[in-house]
Structure formats: structure tokens, C-alpha cells
């Protein structure tokens, strides 16, 4: 694809963003608020140092969640179950991680490994059901989310609940010091700001791994051609069943790391306060970023920023849920624009080719 088409493709998210701002403004006007004032308020609040730290902290799990979803998307597989996968694995990793103690890097690594393994297995169930029983992965992963929620509630309340805890909410025993990732504030000389999670470099590293996996390995190549043309992929020797299984396992593996940012660098234990909903939010980020590591990074930053900056609105008597609406608008409009632009480029390319033939 040449540069011109790349630039045209890039216009889709920008147009979608503008149109969403416009729609949101219409709603704001309709409920009697000044849209410009509201957006300025959001921008000012969202760009304070404190807010930016919070945006980056939110970015970490959101980005990893998007990667997990994107692995499936690349081959046309919809892993809607990232939500259940990361929550269940975070709980078990937190509980198991607190039960032993080794030196620091090893302890952290082991906890991450446990989370990845459990999450992969949970994801593999959906893969198995699709390959062997023909159940569409959207239905099975959604059902597994509900089942996972029930299992989590049971384990947290009955099995892993820390009875010694001072407050009475169900929670696991806190991780020992060796299982915690220190914040980046000292390193970056920003001691006066709230803690910036130390998981950030790992999230960026995972983005790189995702890039190499999809664009530089045979497995990634097979995933991509299966996503674009399953029949062609099959005839080139790809085993679709095996690939589906693998994609669900890898996607589940990435999902297991979603909860690790909040767990290892901030919460240090699993409780009912543990951040939920990131698995669903990641779907939006993957769609917005078109499954590209850089695109998804921008998407995750954007959604994290909107989420944070909207917190100020309630204080100014604008329902902060306007942000949820705006995110959903962006999502819906951007998928339409991507499709329109894809079709436009295809017709242009056909025209170009026929012109070359004519010459």
C-alpha cells in the first residue's frame, strides 16, 4: 500500500473523532450545557500532571487487553472473554503469589507466568468448544465470563479470603514486597506526583512482542492470511482447527497479563475493588487501533484520557457518563469509516490497475 492510501486510511479515526465530538456537542447543547466550555474543562483537567499519571496507569491494562483481543481479531476470531480471563487469572495469581516468597525478579516473573497459564487455559476452553463442538466463540466466551464471575465470587469469598484483614471486604492476602513492582517516579524524577506504575515498560514490551509475533513469524503470517481469506489459507496448508486453538491460547495468555499491571504495581492483592471492565474496553481499543500495535497505543491513550478527564464533569453538573456515550460514538463511527475507506481504496486500486492495463 503506498503512502497516499496510508494517509487516507489515517483520516478515518480523525474524522470519526471529529464527528463524535460534534455529536457529543449536540447532546450537550440539548441538555443545556455549553459544549466548548465542557471540552475545555475536560482538557484542562485531563492534562494536569496528576491526571496524566493516572492516564498512563490506565493505559497499561487497556493496551494489553487490546493486544489480547487483537490476536484473535487478526484471524477473524472474536475473543470477547478477555474480561473473565484476566479477572480469574489475576485472582488466582494474587492468591498463589502471596503464598510463597522468592527473590524479587523471580517472584514477579512467577506470578506473571501463573496468570498467563491460567488465563490461557480459560481461553483454550472457548477454543476447544469452537473446534470440537462448533460453538461460536462469541457465545462461549460470553458464557465463560459469567461462569468466571461466579467462580471468582466463590473463591474470593470462601477460599482465599484473608481473615486477618482489618476491613471486612473480601480480599486475598497482600503480596510480599518481593512480588511488587516499584513505581517509576524515582527514575523519572517526578516524586511530587502520584505513583506511575512500574508495569509501563512491560506493557510497551508486550506491544513489541505482539508486533513480532504477528508480522515476523510464520504463525503470525498464518493468522493474518486466515483472517483475510480462510479458504486460501486452508489450501496453503494451514490447519484452521489447530490455529484457532493456538490463537485462543495466545490471546488468553496476553489477557492474563492485563490484570498484572494493577496487581503487581498498585493493588498488591485481589479484592472486590480490583478494576473490572478492562476486557470489554480493550475490544474498543483494538477496533479503534485496527489491531496495529501503534494504533492501539493511541487508542488506549485516547480512551484512558477521556475516562480520566470526564471525572471533573460531575462536579460541574454535567453527567460524566457523557464520556461513555462519546467513546461508543467514536467506536461505532470509526468502524463505519474504516469500511467506507477500505472500499474506496479498493475501487481506486482497481481503477489504477485498469489504467495501467490500458496503457
Amino acid at each position: 500500500m503506498n503512502l497516499r492510501y496510508r494517509l487516507i486510511s489515517l483520516s478515518a479515526p480523525i474524522l470519526a473523532l471529529s464527528l463524535s465530538v460534534l455529536l457529543t456537542s449536540l447532546i450537550l447543547t440539548a441538555i443545556g450545557k455549553d459544549p466548548i466550555e465542557t471540552f475545555v474543562l475536560m482538557y484542562d483537567y485531563g492534562t494536569t500532571g496528576k491526571s496524566l499519571v493516572s492516564v498512563f496507569n490506565r493505559f497499561i491494562p487497556l493496551y494489553i487487553s487490546a493486544i489480547a483481543v487483537a490476536v484473535g481479531f487478526k484471524m477473524g476470531l472474536f475473543n470477547i472473554g478477555v474480561e473473565g480471563q484476566y479477572l480469574l487469572s489475576a485472582l488466582l495469581a494474587a492468591a498463589i503469589g502471596a503464598s510463597f516468597s522468592v527473590s524479587r525478579p523471580l517472584h514477579i516473573l512467577l506470578i506473571m507466568l501463573i496468570a498467563t497459564a491460567i488465563s490461557s487455559v480459560w481461553g483454550a476452553i472457548a477454543g476447544y468448544l469452537k473446534v470440537n463442538r462448533g460453538i461460536h466463540e462469541v457465545i462461549s466466551t460470553i458464557m465463560l465470563n459469567y461462569i468466571g464471575t461466579g467462580i471468582i465470587a466463590y473463591l474470593l469469598g470462601q477460599v482465599f479470603n484473608d481473615e486477618d484483614a482489618a476491613n471486612l471486604i473480601p480480599q486475598t492476602t497482600p503480596l510480599p514486597e518481593t512480588g511488587q513492582i516499584p513505581s517509576l517516579n524515582n527514575l523519572l524524577n517526578i516524586e511530587d506526583l502520584p505513583s506511575l506504575h512500574g508495569f509501563l515498560p512491560i506493557a510497551i514490551f508486550l506491544g513489541l512482542i505482539y508486533y513480532f509475533l504477528i508480522w515476523k513469524t510464520t504463525l503470525g503470517y498464518n493468522l493474518r492470511i486466515t483472517g483475510q481469506n480462510p479458504t486460501a489459507a486452508k489450501f496453503s496448508g494451514v490447519d484452521p482447527k489447530r490455529l484457532t486453538m493456538l490463537a485462543m491460547i495466545i490471546s488468553g495468555g496476553f489477557a492474563g497479563l492485563v490484570g498484572m499491571g494493577p496487581l503487581l504495581s498498585y493493588h498488591h492483592q485481589y479484592s472486590i475493588d480490583f478494576p473490572a471492565g478492562i476486557g470489554f474496553a480493550g475490544i474498543g481499543v483494538a477496533l479503534l487501533g485496527r489491531n496495529h500495535p501503534v494504533g492501539m497505543a493511541f487508542g488506549a491513550i485516547l480512551f484512558a484520557f477521556l475516562e480520566r478527564s470526564s471525572q471533573i464533569l460531575d462536579l460541574r453538573d454535567v453527567p460524566k457518563e457523557i464520556e461513555t456515550m462519546m467513546s461508543a460514538f467514536i467506536l461505532l463511527i470509526v468502524v463505519v469509516f474504516y469500511e467506507v475507506i477500505r472500499r474506496y481504496i479498493v475501487t481506486q486500486q482497481i481503477k489504477e490497475a485498469s489504467r495501467q492495463v490500458d496503457d
Binding site: 463442538r133 458464557m143 461466579g150
Partner: protein, 414 residues
Amino acid sequence: MNKLTIFLREKYLVITPILLIISIAQLEQYSQLTTSGTFGAALRLSIPILLAGLGGLFSERTGIVNIGLEGMMIMGTWFTAWGGVLYGPWYGILFGLAGGALFGLIHAVATVSFQVDHIVSGVAINILAVGAGRFFNILAFDDYEYASSTASPIVEGEIGRITLPFISGGEINGSPTFNILGSLEEQNIILLSDIAGLLYGVTSNISYFSIISLLMIPGSIYLLWRTPLGLQMRSVGEFPSGSESLGVNVYLMKYTGVIISGALAGLAGAYLVLEGPSVYLEGQTNGRGFIGLASLLFGNYRPFGIFLGAGLFGFADALQLRSEESIHGLLIVIFLFMFILTARNIYQRNIRSGVLSGLVGLAFFVWFNNSTTIPIQFVYFTPHLTTLIVLSFASQKFRMPKSVGKPYKKGELS
């Protein structure tokens, strides 16, 4: 071979668990499994799933996958509460219908006019609906006393109820009649009393809304299989370019299908509100849109099959509300079922599956033997687990509309 034998042969994996449940229900501690109360609750809980499933039917028969059913159902719940609070329950139903249809229209615009991937659009609609429900709720009910960001005020007013006279003891002109089914149920005769319980449960104290919803089954059959419009709609889901060449307006048919789909999902939401807590609550749909979709698969894209599927899931849902002991009884049902499955697998020389199902069965037996109840947290996901298990054993021979899920653009050969 006659029809009955073929039916038994094909469906024994569905029939055996039903027989097992009936036998278990003869024991005193599990008698809750087949009382009229349970079946009445099962019917009430099946109807939203049924309506969502029929919604899925209209959409998929015209070739559009509708993962957004859940979102359209959420809109149904909120719009029903809104209309209901303002003008009463019957207007609530109309509002819910319209709210679902509106989101159906959005899905249609994205998938039909812009050829966006159907699942992508559906996922986006589900995300939009959650946000919109909460946002609308804050806007509309800001001044009401008993409302919060996640709950609406109560819808006042009743939708009437009716009991079948002469058979289930309904009243005629204010005087009671015989209650044949009710007294049969009390006799405790094996099978007969269980069936009487089922019939009594679904014929007594039924709301008009339930009756309207059940009428959607013959309604859908009539519309899709007995009218020219239905034929056109189905043809579009099978072979759109062929329909186009015969002068069918493919886009219009797809729009119609998806909007009807949204309306039915909206109706499902309305039912959840009005036959449930009479308020809109966030998370109220609890995945029932997706379970509706599962019942569509279970029913092999046919209205009556969807009804059976919805009944099954509704039954599982009803048990969780009725009694924890009953659910514990289901463990032994699963064990016996796995035992039968193991025997079948070994008979068919399928040793690996045989060992697997044997181990699963054994695990359930150990669990049953070492406990008296099931943790309450597990009871909540009974319907979802049932959905997965049922689909695992039933979803082998689908005959889905041929072009379902494929984008169609006018003038291009699909």
C-alpha cells in the same frame, strides 16, 4: 423406521436429561424441580430469551448476524421504564419496542448500508447501549426521588393476569371453576403429576404480556413462512444476488429484518422490566440477549425450536431462584448423564472421549456426595453453564441461512 424412532434417535441427548430430572424429582428433597411454581417461573424467565431468540431469527434469516441483541434488549429495558414511568405499563411496552427498533436501525445502517463486519457492529452496539442506558437514566430521572444512575423509578400500574378456567381454576364472572391440573399435581402420581405441574404452572396466573409474547411464535412462523414478504426476507439471507435479480429489494428486506429483530429484543427488555422488578436496573439483562442467540442455534433457526431452547434455559434460570437444594439434585443428573455418555462413547469405540466424560461424571459424583448444597455463587451461573453444556451436545447439525454474516453490496456477486 417411523417418525418417533427417528426423533428419539436424534434427540436422546436432550430427552434423557429431562427423564432423569423427572425421576430425581420423585424424591422428597428434590420435589421442587417439577412443581407448578417452578414451571411458572420457568415460563416467565423463558419469555425474554424466547423474544430475543426470535429477534435473532428475523435478523439472521435476512443474513445479518445480530450480536447486538443484548444491547437492543438493554435499550428495551430503559425505554420501557421511561415510557412506563411517564404514561403507564402499556405505553412502556411500546416505548421498549421502539427503543429496541431504534438500535436495530443503527445496526442495519452499519451492516447493510456500510457493510461493516456484523460482529464488530454488534459489539459496538452493546458497548453503546450500556453507556446510553446509564446516560439516559441520569438525564430523564434526575428529579425523581427513588432513582439513581443505575436504577429508574418504579413503573406504576399493572398488566392484567389471567388463569385458564375449568382446567386450572380460573374465574368466570367472578366465580371459581374446577382446578383439574392443580388437584392432579397434588396427587403425586409419577410423571402424571409432573406433567400436570408443568401445565398448571403455564396456565395459571399468566399475564397478558406473556400471552402476547407467546403469540409471537405463530406470528413469526406466519410472517416468515406464509407471506410473500417472509419469502423475500428469507431469500435474501440465502442468496441475495439471486433475489436481487428477481427484483427483490435486498437492502429493504435486510433493514426490515434487523429492525424487527431490534423491536423483538426491545420487547424482551420490556418483559424483563414489567414482569420483573418494575424498574430499569443496570445489568438487568444479564446476558439474556446472548442466551437468546444460543436458543436460536439450539432451535436450528426455527421459531418452535427457539421456544424449546428458551424453555430449557428458562428452566435452569428458574431453578436458581427456587431452591438451592434442587440445583444440588442436578449434580446427580449430570453424573447419570455423563455415565450414559461414557457408555455410548465406549460402545462407539471412542475411548478418549469416553474416559473424559467418565472422569467428568466421577468428579460430579464426588462433589454430590461430599456436599449438601451448591455454593450460592455457582447457582447464579446455572443458566450460562446450561447454555454451554446444551450447545456442546446439540450444536452439531446446524442449517444456518447460507449467506449469513456475509457483507452484501448491490451489484456485486456474493
